[in-house]
Assembly symmetry: C2
Homo-oligomer: 182 residues x 2
Amino acid sequence: MGNNAVRVLGVDPGTRVSGWAVVQGPLRDARAVAHGVWHLRGSLSARLAELARRLEAVLTEFSPQLVALERNFSGENVQSALRLGEARGAILAAVGGHGLPVVEYTPATVKLAVAGNGRASKEQIQAMVARLLSLPDLPSSDAADALALALCHLQTSPFAQKLPQSVRGLLWRRGRIKRMRS
Amino acid sequence: MGNNAVRVLGVDPGTRVSGWAVVQGPLRDARAVAHGVWHLRGSLSARLAELARRLEAVLTEFSPQLVALERNFSGENVQSALRLGEARGAILAAVGGHGLPVVEYTPATVKLAVAGNGRASKEQIQAMVARLLSLPDLPSSDAADALALALCHLQTSPFAQKLPQSVRGLLWRRGRIKRMRS
Protein backbone atom coordinates (compact mmCIF):
# COMPACT_ATOMS: atom_id res chain seq x y z
CA MET A 1 0.00 0.00 0.00
CA GLY A 2 2.97 2.28 0.66
CA ASN A 3 2.53 6.00 0.80
CA ASN A 4 -1.04 5.95 -0.54
CA ALA A 5 -2.48 5.20 2.93
CA VAL A 6 -1.58 8.56 4.43
CA ARG A 7 -3.64 11.57 5.33
CA VAL A 8 -2.60 14.32 2.93
CA LEU A 9 -3.06 18.07 3.13
CA GLY A 10 -3.19 19.62 -0.32
CA VAL A 11 -2.68 23.39 -0.55
CA ASP A 12 -3.16 25.65 -3.56
CA PRO A 13 -1.26 28.73 -2.39
CA GLY A 14 -2.15 32.35 -3.09
CA THR A 15 -1.55 35.61 -1.24
CA ARG A 16 -5.26 36.56 -1.45
CA VAL A 17 -7.07 33.24 -1.83
CA SER A 18 -5.67 29.83 -0.90
CA GLY A 19 -7.47 26.50 -1.31
CA TRP A 20 -6.85 23.61 1.06
CA ALA A 21 -8.03 20.04 1.43
CA VAL A 22 -7.37 17.12 3.75
CA VAL A 23 -7.84 13.77 2.03
CA GLN A 24 -7.53 10.40 3.70
CA GLY A 25 -6.12 7.46 1.73
CA PRO A 26 -5.67 4.82 0.52
CA LEU A 27 -6.71 5.79 -2.95
CA ARG A 28 -9.40 3.13 -3.39
CA ASP A 29 -11.19 4.40 -0.28
CA ALA A 30 -10.11 8.03 -0.59
CA ARG A 31 -12.34 10.42 1.27
CA ALA A 32 -12.30 14.18 1.77
CA VAL A 33 -11.94 14.86 5.48
CA ALA A 34 -12.27 18.63 5.11
CA HIS A 35 -11.64 21.26 2.49
CA GLY A 36 -12.14 24.94 1.97
CA VAL A 37 -10.84 28.30 0.86
CA TRP A 38 -9.07 30.98 2.86
CA HIS A 39 -9.82 34.57 1.90
CA LEU A 40 -6.94 36.69 3.17
CA ARG A 41 -7.29 40.38 3.91
CA GLY A 42 -5.13 43.37 4.81
CA SER A 43 -1.53 44.17 3.94
CA LEU A 44 0.70 41.54 2.36
CA SER A 45 2.39 40.70 5.67
CA ALA A 46 -1.00 40.56 7.45
CA ARG A 47 -2.34 38.21 4.75
CA LEU A 48 0.71 35.94 4.94
CA ALA A 49 0.52 35.88 8.74
CA GLU A 50 -3.15 34.90 8.47
CA LEU A 51 -2.27 32.22 5.91
CA ALA A 52 0.34 30.77 8.28
CA ARG A 53 -2.11 30.91 11.23
CA ARG A 54 -4.90 29.20 9.30
CA LEU A 55 -2.54 26.54 8.05
CA GLU A 56 -1.32 25.95 11.62
CA ALA A 57 -4.93 25.49 12.71
CA VAL A 58 -5.53 22.86 10.00
CA LEU A 59 -2.29 21.04 10.87
CA THR A 60 -3.35 20.95 14.51
CA GLU A 61 -6.98 19.96 13.86
CA PHE A 62 -6.49 17.32 11.17
CA SER A 63 -2.92 16.04 11.73
CA PRO A 64 -1.98 15.35 8.10
CA GLN A 65 1.15 13.26 7.61
CA LEU A 66 2.39 15.25 4.67
CA VAL A 67 1.64 18.29 2.56
CA ALA A 68 1.21 18.34 -1.22
CA LEU A 69 1.92 21.60 -3.04
CA GLU A 70 1.79 22.61 -6.66
CA ARG A 71 5.15 23.11 -8.34
CA ASN A 72 4.88 25.88 -10.89
CA PHE A 73 7.67 26.04 -13.40
CA SER A 74 6.54 28.31 -16.14
CA GLY A 75 3.69 30.42 -17.46
CA GLU A 76 4.46 32.93 -14.73
CA ASN A 77 6.09 36.30 -15.02
CA VAL A 78 8.65 37.44 -12.45
CA GLN A 79 6.15 39.47 -10.44
CA SER A 80 3.59 36.68 -10.17
CA ALA A 81 6.35 34.17 -9.38
CA LEU A 82 7.45 36.43 -6.53
CA ARG A 83 3.86 36.59 -5.19
CA LEU A 84 3.39 32.82 -5.52
CA GLY A 85 6.73 32.34 -3.75
CA GLU A 86 5.60 34.53 -0.87
CA ALA A 87 2.48 32.41 -0.32
CA ARG A 88 4.56 29.25 -0.63
CA GLY A 89 7.12 30.60 1.84
CA ALA A 90 4.51 31.30 4.52
CA ILE A 91 3.10 27.79 4.03
CA LEU A 92 6.44 25.99 3.86
CA ALA A 93 7.76 27.71 7.00
CA ALA A 94 4.68 26.58 8.95
CA VAL A 95 4.87 23.05 7.54
CA GLY A 96 8.60 22.86 8.22
CA GLY A 97 7.95 24.01 11.77
CA HIS A 98 5.84 20.87 12.23
CA GLY A 99 8.55 18.71 10.65
CA LEU A 100 6.15 17.43 7.99
CA PRO A 101 7.42 16.31 4.58
CA VAL A 102 6.40 18.31 1.52
CA VAL A 103 5.76 16.75 -1.89
CA GLU A 104 5.35 18.82 -5.02
CA TYR A 105 3.57 18.06 -8.28
CA THR A 106 3.40 20.06 -11.48
CA PRO A 107 -0.07 21.21 -12.59
CA ALA A 108 0.13 18.81 -15.56
CA THR A 109 0.87 15.85 -13.27
CA VAL A 110 -2.08 16.73 -11.05
CA LYS A 111 -4.43 17.09 -14.01
CA LEU A 112 -3.22 13.84 -15.54
CA ALA A 113 -3.68 12.01 -12.25
CA VAL A 114 -7.17 13.30 -11.58
CA ALA A 115 -8.69 13.79 -15.03
CA GLY A 116 -6.49 11.56 -17.17
CA ASN A 117 -5.52 14.62 -19.17
CA GLY A 118 -2.59 16.91 -18.41
CA ARG A 119 -4.44 19.82 -19.95
CA ALA A 120 -7.81 19.34 -18.26
CA SER A 121 -9.88 22.49 -17.63
CA LYS A 122 -10.71 23.87 -14.20
CA GLU A 123 -14.29 22.66 -14.66
CA GLN A 124 -13.11 19.14 -15.46
CA ILE A 125 -10.95 19.09 -12.32
CA GLN A 126 -13.87 20.28 -10.20
CA ALA A 127 -16.13 17.60 -11.67
CA MET A 128 -13.57 14.81 -11.33
CA VAL A 129 -12.60 15.46 -7.71
CA ALA A 130 -16.30 15.69 -6.80
CA ARG A 131 -16.87 12.33 -8.48
CA LEU A 132 -13.76 10.59 -7.11
CA LEU A 133 -14.52 11.70 -3.56
CA SER A 134 -18.32 11.42 -3.84
CA LEU A 135 -18.76 15.04 -2.82
CA PRO A 136 -22.38 16.21 -2.65
CA ASP A 137 -21.52 19.51 -4.41
CA LEU A 138 -18.89 20.78 -6.82
CA PRO A 139 -16.03 22.29 -4.80
CA SER A 140 -14.88 25.78 -5.72
CA SER A 141 -11.97 25.91 -8.13
CA ASP A 142 -9.40 26.75 -5.43
CA ALA A 143 -10.54 23.94 -3.15
CA ALA A 144 -10.75 21.56 -6.14
CA ASP A 145 -7.09 22.21 -6.95
CA ALA A 146 -6.15 21.36 -3.37
CA LEU A 147 -8.27 18.19 -3.45
CA ALA A 148 -6.70 17.23 -6.77
CA LEU A 149 -3.20 17.71 -5.33
CA ALA A 150 -3.98 15.41 -2.42
CA LEU A 151 -5.52 12.80 -4.74
CA CYS A 152 -2.50 13.07 -7.03
CA HIS A 153 -0.29 12.15 -4.12
CA LEU A 154 -2.47 9.18 -3.14
CA GLN A 155 -2.14 7.90 -6.69
CA THR A 156 1.64 8.09 -6.50
CA SER A 157 2.43 4.74 -4.91
CA PRO A 158 6.03 3.49 -4.69
CA PHE A 159 5.16 1.15 -7.58
CA ALA A 160 3.65 3.84 -9.76
CA GLN A 161 6.58 6.18 -9.16
CA LYS A 162 8.80 3.88 -11.21
CA LEU A 163 6.56 4.09 -14.28
CA PRO A 164 6.58 6.86 -16.84
CA GLN A 165 3.95 9.55 -16.39
CA SER A 166 1.78 8.44 -19.31
CA VAL A 167 1.58 4.84 -18.08
CA ARG A 168 0.56 6.01 -14.63
CA GLY A 169 -2.25 8.04 -16.18
CA LEU A 170 -3.33 5.00 -18.16
CA LEU A 171 -3.35 2.68 -15.14
CA TRP A 172 -5.30 5.25 -13.19
CA ARG A 173 -7.88 5.69 -15.93
CA ARG A 174 -8.35 1.93 -16.38
CA GLY A 175 -8.42 1.17 -12.71
CA ARG A 176 -11.09 3.33 -11.30
CA ILE A 177 -12.33 6.17 -13.44
CA LYS A 178 -13.22 6.74 -17.02
CA ARG A 179 -11.77 9.66 -18.88
CA MET A 180 -14.10 12.59 -19.01
CA ARG A 181 -15.47 13.64 -22.35
CA SER A 182 -14.68 17.29 -22.83
CA MET B 1 12.24 63.86 13.65
CA GLY B 2 9.39 61.65 12.46
CA ASN B 3 10.05 58.10 11.40
CA ASN B 4 13.85 58.41 11.56
CA ALA B 5 13.89 57.86 15.33
CA VAL B 6 12.73 54.26 15.17
CA ARG B 7 14.52 51.00 15.71
CA VAL B 8 14.59 49.28 12.32
CA LEU B 9 15.18 45.65 11.44
CA GLY B 10 16.65 45.30 7.95
CA VAL B 11 16.51 41.86 6.35
CA ASP B 12 18.19 40.70 3.16
CA PRO B 13 16.20 37.52 2.48
CA GLY B 14 17.49 34.27 1.02
CA THR B 15 16.48 30.62 1.35
CA ARG B 16 20.07 29.58 2.20
CA VAL B 17 21.68 32.70 3.60
CA SER B 18 19.84 35.71 5.02
CA GLY B 19 21.43 38.87 6.39
CA TRP B 20 19.81 40.85 9.19
CA ALA B 21 20.56 44.04 11.11
CA VAL B 22 18.92 46.06 13.86
CA VAL B 23 19.75 49.76 13.62
CA GLN B 24 18.64 52.42 16.06
CA GLY B 25 17.87 55.93 14.80
CA PRO B 26 17.71 58.85 14.46
CA LEU B 27 19.99 59.01 11.47
CA ARG B 28 22.48 61.49 12.92
CA ASP B 29 23.11 59.14 15.87
CA ALA B 30 22.45 55.91 14.01
CA ARG B 31 24.00 52.89 15.67
CA ALA B 32 24.03 49.19 14.86
CA VAL B 33 22.42 47.34 17.75
CA ALA B 34 23.11 43.90 16.32
CA HIS B 35 23.61 42.31 12.93
CA GLY B 36 24.50 38.99 11.46
CA VAL B 37 23.90 36.25 8.93
CA TRP B 38 21.71 33.18 9.16
CA HIS B 39 22.97 30.06 7.42
CA LEU B 40 19.96 27.83 6.79
CA ARG B 41 20.25 24.08 6.35
CA GLY B 42 18.10 21.11 5.39
CA SER B 43 15.10 20.86 3.08
CA LEU B 44 13.45 24.00 1.75
CA SER B 45 10.63 23.82 4.30
CA ALA B 46 13.13 23.15 7.12
CA ARG B 47 15.20 26.17 6.02
CA LEU B 48 12.17 28.44 5.83
CA ALA B 49 10.96 27.24 9.23
CA GLU B 50 14.42 28.02 10.62
CA LEU B 51 14.36 31.44 8.96
CA ALA B 52 10.98 32.20 10.57
CA ARG B 53 12.22 30.93 13.97
CA ARG B 54 15.40 33.00 13.86
CA LEU B 55 13.49 36.08 12.78
CA GLU B 56 11.03 35.53 15.65
CA ALA B 57 13.97 35.39 18.06
CA VAL B 58 15.33 38.71 16.77
CA LEU B 59 11.89 40.35 16.94
CA THR B 60 11.56 39.19 20.55
CA GLU B 61 15.10 40.09 21.61
CA PHE B 62 15.44 43.50 19.96
CA SER B 63 11.83 44.74 19.58
CA PRO B 64 12.23 46.64 16.29
CA GLN B 65 9.36 48.97 15.41
CA LEU B 66 9.39 48.13 11.73
CA VAL B 67 11.04 45.92 9.18
CA ALA B 68 12.79 47.08 6.02
CA LEU B 69 13.00 44.66 3.10
CA GLU B 70 14.47 44.90 -0.35
CA ARG B 71 11.96 45.17 -3.18
CA ASN B 72 13.33 43.39 -6.22
CA PHE B 73 11.63 44.24 -9.47
CA SER B 74 13.81 42.94 -12.20
CA GLY B 75 17.04 41.19 -13.02
CA GLU B 76 15.56 37.98 -11.70
CA ASN B 77 14.36 35.00 -13.66
CA VAL B 78 11.13 33.24 -12.71
CA GLN B 79 12.84 30.50 -10.73
CA SER B 80 14.98 32.87 -8.64
CA ALA B 81 11.95 35.17 -8.14
CA LEU B 82 10.05 32.16 -6.78
CA ARG B 83 12.91 31.36 -4.37
CA LEU B 84 13.23 34.98 -3.25
CA GLY B 85 9.46 35.06 -2.76
CA GLU B 86 9.62 31.98 -0.54
CA ALA B 87 12.20 33.60 1.74
CA ARG B 88 10.17 36.82 1.77
CA GLY B 89 6.98 34.90 2.57
CA ALA B 90 8.49 33.19 5.61
CA ILE B 91 9.76 36.58 6.84
CA LEU B 92 6.59 38.54 6.07
CA ALA B 93 4.34 35.98 7.78
CA ALA B 94 6.43 36.20 10.96
CA VAL B 95 6.55 40.01 10.82
CA GLY B 96 2.80 40.20 10.13
CA GLY B 97 2.19 37.92 13.11
CA HIS B 98 3.82 40.59 15.28
CA GLY B 99 1.72 43.31 13.65
CA LEU B 100 4.84 45.22 12.58
CA PRO B 101 4.81 47.47 9.52
CA VAL B 102 7.00 46.54 6.56
CA VAL B 103 8.70 49.05 4.31
CA GLU B 104 10.34 48.14 1.05
CA TYR B 105 13.12 49.80 -0.90
CA THR B 106 14.56 48.97 -4.29
CA PRO B 107 18.25 48.04 -4.40
CA ALA B 108 18.98 51.29 -6.28
CA THR B 109 17.28 53.36 -3.58
CA VAL B 110 19.28 51.62 -0.87
CA LYS B 111 22.56 52.13 -2.72
CA LEU B 112 21.77 55.76 -3.42
CA ALA B 113 20.91 56.37 0.21
CA VAL B 114 24.01 54.72 1.63
CA ALA B 115 26.68 55.30 -0.99
CA GLY B 116 25.26 58.26 -2.94
CA ASN B 117 25.25 56.08 -6.02
CA GLY B 118 22.40 53.84 -7.15
CA ARG B 119 24.88 51.48 -8.80
CA ALA B 120 27.37 51.17 -5.95
CA SER B 121 29.27 47.89 -5.69
CA LYS B 122 28.91 45.41 -2.84
CA GLU B 123 32.33 46.47 -1.55
CA GLN B 124 31.29 50.14 -1.53
CA ILE B 125 28.15 49.28 0.45
CA GLN B 126 30.18 47.28 2.96
CA ALA B 127 32.66 50.15 3.37
CA MET B 128 29.95 52.83 3.66
CA VAL B 129 27.81 51.08 6.27
CA ALA B 130 30.93 50.35 8.32
CA ARG B 131 31.84 54.04 8.16
CA LEU B 132 28.35 55.40 8.80
CA LEU B 133 27.84 53.14 11.80
CA SER B 134 31.46 53.26 13.02
CA LEU B 135 31.74 49.48 12.89
CA PRO B 136 35.13 48.10 13.94
CA ASP B 137 35.16 45.62 11.04
CA LEU B 138 33.67 45.36 7.57
CA PRO B 139 30.39 43.46 7.81
CA SER B 140 29.86 40.54 5.44
CA SER B 141 28.04 41.40 2.25
CA ASP B 142 24.72 39.87 3.42
CA ALA B 143 24.80 41.70 6.74
CA ALA B 144 25.91 44.91 4.99
CA ASP B 145 22.84 44.80 2.75
CA ALA B 146 20.61 44.48 5.81
CA LEU B 147 22.42 47.36 7.54
CA ALA B 148 22.08 49.47 4.39
CA LEU B 149 18.34 48.75 4.23
CA ALA B 150 17.88 49.91 7.81
CA LEU B 151 19.97 53.05 7.19
CA CYS B 152 18.02 53.73 4.01
CA HIS B 153 14.85 53.77 6.06
CA LEU B 154 16.32 56.12 8.67
CA GLN B 155 17.18 58.52 5.88
CA THR B 156 13.61 58.51 4.67
CA SER B 157 12.06 61.15 6.91
CA PRO B 158 8.54 62.50 6.25
CA PHE B 159 10.22 65.59 4.78
CA ALA B 160 12.58 63.68 2.53
CA GLN B 161 9.78 61.44 1.27
CA LYS B 162 8.24 64.41 -0.51
CA LEU B 163 11.38 65.07 -2.53
CA PRO B 164 12.41 63.27 -5.68
CA GLN B 165 14.91 60.45 -5.28
CA SER B 166 17.88 62.34 -6.72
CA VAL B 167 17.41 65.31 -4.40
CA ARG B 168 17.21 63.02 -1.42
CA GLY B 169 20.49 61.46 -2.44
CA LEU B 170 21.99 64.90 -2.82
CA LEU B 171 20.82 66.08 0.59
CA TRP B 172 22.15 62.93 2.13
CA ARG B 173 25.53 63.25 0.48
CA ARG B 174 25.88 66.90 1.48
CA GLY B 175 24.59 66.39 4.97
CA ARG B 176 26.76 63.77 6.46
CA ILE B 177 28.85 61.72 4.12
CA LYS B 178 31.03 62.34 1.14
CA ARG B 179 30.52 60.36 -1.99
CA MET B 180 32.97 57.52 -2.30
CA ARG B 181 35.41 57.53 -5.13
CA SER B 182 34.96 54.31 -7.09
